[in-house]
């Protein structure tokens, strides 16, 4: 009944990482959207999500500046050496929900955001670029790095939980 409200809340919940703040941010964003309805062009979903995203990042700047700073570090998620490949296909299949969700939540917000928009909202690169207010090239790069970071953290978890692995 309210498909775009779910998308709005999902994004806000992933970025703020708790229910209470997600609700506050979405409420504020939706009221703002009402005031700026005149500026809408084209597909309503990315338009609304852009407003929600900006509200989330304003909130992050005020409440989680350290998290934001992490995402600005150029070195994060760079191409690793070929040896350090991601987990095997079977490992991800057996992954627990909790482990995966925690790993995504641990990503810096700029990477978490593009991953959520791509994998959970199925938005195009172009729409994600519009929502994140960044060029498509940046979106693609962040998405790559997000996936690499995630794969790496899951690999660490997976190999750490395997019996007989010496470190």
């Amino acid at each position: 009944m309210l498909p775009h409200l779910d998308a709005a809340y999902n994004l806000a919940r992933w970025l703020t990482r708790n229910d209470h703040d997600a609700e506050d941010v979405v409420q504020e964003a939706v009221l703002r959207a009402c005031r700026f309805a005149d500026g809408l062009r084209g597909d309503p979903r990315p338009w609304l999500l852009a407003i929600v995203r900006n509200a989330c990042f304003t909130w992050l700047e005020a409440n989680r500046p350290a998290e934001l700073a992490l995402g600005l570090d150029e070195r994060i998620g760079e191409i690793p050496a070929p040896e350090a490949e991601g987990p095997e296909a079977s490992a991800t299949r057996n992954l627990e929900r909790r482990v995966l969700n925690e790993a995504i939540a641990a990503l810096p917000p700029q990477f978490r955001e593009v991953l959520v928009l791509r994998e959970l909202e199925d938005l195009s690169y172009r729409d994600i670029a519009r929502i994140a207010g960044a060029p498509i090239g940046t979106v693609m790069s962040r998405l790559s790095r997000a996936r690499r970071l995630l794969a790496e953290s899951l690999r660490v978890i997976v190999t750490a939980s395997e019996p007989g692995v010496s470190r």
Binding site: L2, R35, Y125
Partner: protein, 249 residues
Amino acid sequence: MNREEARTLLPAYLDGELDPAKSVELEAHLAADPVSRAACGRLRSLSNAIRDKADYHAAPATLGERLLDALPAAAERAPRLPARRNWPLAAAALASTAALAVALTLATVHPRDDERLEQEALSSYVRATLSTRLADVASSDQHTVKPWLSAHLPYSPPVVDPSAQGFTLAGARLDYVGGRAVAALVYQRRQHRIDVFVWPEQEDSNLRASVRDGFNIERFARGGMRYWIVSDLNRNELDDLARLLGAQH
């Protein structure tokens, strides 16, 4: 294509963002190179894992309810949407979150329907002008018109007679607007004819005006009915009639 190029194209390929020509090239490479194939498999399986297992947080019901409460006040402060420019699109965006649709007085009508309704109401008005069929029941007596309409429709539209204010009831006809049989009340003011299309509608909405093909059109909803008013009469006087019918700004 070498392994390095393939590696850089894989994410776009899996996200369905790679152009067809490059996709074909990449697929040929993947078929021939097991190392790239394995990398592709890992990327795909990570994506699948996220889609299968990551939480999708649906909005709590209380949030929707709170928005429904807060939005009418916010809408009051919102700049009025201009009559024609971008009206359907802007309304569509907010109507997509149904709470906002209420605030923008679109109620249960999908905003694209407003565009369609406007068109159909106007067509009906003009067609009636061109033909001789202005009214099925031609009477200025509301006590004749009202029962006639109730007998021919699944609802009973209110019929007012504001002749004291200079609007004469000329009669009514049945018409087909927005996919339903509706009443079209016909009023006269000097040499202008005014058609008022009436059908049931739950939510109230404020008076909104627009212009189409030089005709003035006004719409509102009140007391369980929706009204679309079409005429070549000027906007000010049309406003008067709308208010007499029960509209509120």
